[in-house]
C-alpha cells in the first residue's frame, strides 16, 4: 500500500513532465520530508538507546521495576538490555560504587563504543550520598567516568528514572555532529591548563565530596 503511493502516476499528475530532463517537481501527495542529517541521526539514536545496567545496590531493584511491565522501559526504545558493554549505548550506574569497583567501572565505560552516554542513578552514584562518605566508597561516579544525567533519589522511583531517560533523549536530540568536543575522550594532559592538580582537587572537594570538579573527559 505504502509503496504504491510513491509510484509516479503519470496519467493524473505532472502533466508538464518532459522526457529526458530529471523531474524536480514535488507533488503534494508524495511522501517526503525535509530535515538535517543530525536530526535524523539523533532521532534514531535517542529512540533506540540500549542501556547497560550497572546495578550495585538497591537502585538496581528500582531499575528492575522500571524495566518490568508496569513502567515498561521498552516504550522508550530500551527494549534490549545490553549486559555486554560492547553492545550498549547508555551506562546506567545504579548504586554505590566502592573504590574496589572503580577500575571495573572505568574499564566497562572504556569498552563501550561511541556514541555512549551515562546515567548516574540515585544519590550514591551521583554524590556518595553523604552517609557513605567513608574510606571505601567513591564520592560520585563522575570521579571516574563522565555523566550525562543525574537522577536524584534514594532510591529514585521508576518515574524518576524514566524522567532522567527522557532528559537524556532530549540531550541526544540536541547533539550536533559538527561539535568537535562531542565525542572527545582525551585524558587531560598534565601540562595543559585543563589539568587540575590532585592537591587542588582535594581542596575543592573537601569536605563536600565531588561534583565541583567533574569533567566530561574523565578524571
Amino acid at each position: 500500500m505504502g509503496l504504491s503511493r510513491s509510484e509516479p502516476r503519470s496519467g493524473e499528475q505532472g502533466p508538464e513532465r518532459s522526457e529526458g530532463t530529471a523531474s524536480t517537481e514535488i507533488t503534494s501527495d508524495m511522501p517526503w520530508t525535509l530535515t538535517t542529517l543530525d536530526k535524523l541521526v539523533n532521532w534514531g539514536r535517542s529512540n533506540s538507546l540500549w542501556p547497560m545496567p550497572f546495578g550495585t545496590a538497591c537502585c538496581a531493584i528500582e531499575f528492575m521495576a522500571t524495566a518490568a511491565s508496569k513502567y515498561d522501559l521498552a516504550r522508550f526504545g530500551m527494549e534490549r538490555q545490553a549486559f555486554s558493554p560492547r553492545q550498549a549505548d547508555v551506562l546506567i550506574c545504579a548504586g554505590r560504587v566502592p573504590f574496589k569497583l572503580a577500575p571495573v567501572l572505568r574499564r566497562i565505560w572504556q569498552q563501550m563504543p561511541q556514541p555512549k552516554w551515562c546515567i548516574s542513578m540515585g544519590a550514591c552514584a551521583s554524590s556518595g550520598n553523604g552517609i557513605f562518605d567513608n574510606y571505601a566508597v567513591v564520592q560520585g561516579i563522575d570521579n571516574i567516568i563522565p555523566v550525562d544525567v543525574y537522577v536524584p533519589g534514594c532510591p529514585p522511583r521508576p518515574e524518576g528514572l524514566l524522567y532522567g531517560i527522557m532528559m537524556l533523549q532530549k540531550k541526544v536530540m540536541n547533539e550536533r555532529s559538527g561539535d568537535p568536543s562531542l565525542r572527545n575522550e582525551m585524558e587531560p594532559d598534565p601540562t595543559s591548563q585543563l589539568y587540575i592538580a590532585p592537591s587542588l582537587i582535594d581542596e575543592l572537594s573537601e569536605p563536600f565530596g565531588n561534583s565541583v570538579h567533574q569533567t566530561r573527559s574523565g578524571l
Binding site: F99, K100, N134, Y135, N143, P198, D202, E206, L219
Partner: protein, 227 residues
Amino acid sequence: MVAGSAAGSNAPAPSTPKNVPLRGGEPNPSAAALKQQFSGGINRVDVMWGETTVIVDHARLHEIVHWLHDDPSQRYDYLSDVTAVEFRDLEQPLEVVWHLRSLPWRRFLRVKVLIEKGAALEVPSVWDIYKSADWLERECYDMFGITFNGHPDLRRLLMWESYKEGFPLRKDFPLRGRFSRSEQLRQALAANPEARYSKDELSIAEAFEDLPSDMRRRLGTGEKVGE
C-alpha cells in the same frame, strides 16, 4: 523428637525461650564441660541474654576449639563467624570472637580471646578445624589487622590487595581513610581488576587437566580476555 538431634528420641523438642534475663541465665552445658576439661584455660564464663560466652586463654584456644569440634559430647560442627571487637576505652583489651554452633546438640557458644593493648595482634587460626574459617579470618585480618597464625593464605578479602591505608575497623582509623580522596581514587584506578584473581582462587587449577588443549594453552600463557 527432632530429626538429627544428638540428644536422643526422649529429648523435648526445642522451643523459643521466654523471659530470658539479661544476665545470669542458665549457661550452656558446654561451659561446665570446658571448665572440667581445661581448668586453666577458661578465664571467665558470661551468660548474656541466654547466650554463653567463654573467655579462654590465648595459648590454648586452638586446643579448646579442636576439642569442642571433635568431642562427641560437644560436636560444634559449624563455625558461623570469626570477628573482633575493639573498644574506645584505652584500657579495655581487644577481643577476638568465634561463634560456634552445634547442630546435633542445638547449642550456641561464643568463644573469646582477649588481646591486651600493646600486645601483638596474633591468634591461632582454626582453619585446620573449620574450612569456613578461611574467608572469615581473611576478613578479620583485612578489617582489624589481626594475624591468624596457621592460615594458609592470609590476604585481604574486602579491600583490594594493594590497599595501603591500614585496617579500616580499628578505632584509630579515620572514617574517610588516611589518604586524600584523589589519592585514594588514583590508587584504586591504578589497580588492574583482572590481576586480583589467581588461578587457584578460581579453582580452575583443579580442573586444569580436564580442559581442552587450546584453553589450557591460553591459560598457561596468561592470555587476557577482557581487553
